[in-house]
Amino acid sequence: MPKNILEPNNWVDRYSDYLYNYTIVRVNDHEVAQDLISETFFAGLKSKDNFKGEASERTWLIAILKRKIIDHYRKKNSKKGKAEIRMTYNDDDAEGDWLEERVSDPFDKTAEDVMENSELGMAIFDCLDTLNEKQARIFKMKTIDNFDTEAICNEFNITPSNLWVIIHRARTAMANCLESNWL
């Protein structure tokens, strides 16, 4: 009997945020990210009979998404004929210095920061998986989407006291989960 089974009805609720964060740092475009996730879910549906149940549902969807992202870049580059490198150099006063300006700057940590933030983001979503579904949804609405307390209370039909108890439990669980590597 397979260890894991597919539940496509729950894919959007369970994995769309995780896949969205995974994709957005790789394609840097919200619409493209949403399209790729949508394609991933449909590809998952089409090939659901091939799922052996050895990997988790999320790992399986990520494997499909990775291929979609690679295909996206292949298509993009084949349209242009080759990878495009844009260099604008319109400053006449600085003419002649351009080569030196493009030598890698050891003090520029941007790419490294983006990678680290992306890993941290994935770790946050892994930890969110350890919460129960209601806790995770409320925590995301309050902490990531910055919803008002009142709006969340109305949606879940709970009192503000209930909300703060849920937030407290979620924050404690998240801190425990992230503590060893990230806090």
């Binding site: 949403q34 941290l120 703060w164």
Partner: protein, 80 residues
């Protein structure tokens, strides 16, 4: 008017401060508690680190309307 609060109340106020939803009076009570309670201080420091980690990660959620549209399309496909 009470100046001294229990640990549970202190941690809840601490959570509210992470979302800028604690009143000044609540913050005063929390600060008094932190003067003599190391557990509250520890909770507060860890809580602030969690907030900072989440901000640093720049995590986002997919817009609700997009999720709803995606769900609908998947449901249609599943029904076929």
């Amino acid at each position: 008017m009470k100046f001294f609060i229990k640990y549970e109340e202190a941690t809840q106020i601490c959570d509210k401060t992470q979302y800028n939803e604690a009143s000044i009076w609540e913050k005063i009570k929390l600060n008094i508690r932190m003067l003599y309670c190391s557990a509250t201080r520890k909770y507060s420091a860890r809580n602030a680190k969690l907030t900072s980690a989440i901000k640093k990660s720049k995590v986002k959620t997919m817009p609700q309307d997009q999720k709803a549209a995606m769900k609908e399309r998947l449901a249609k496909e599943l029904a076929n």
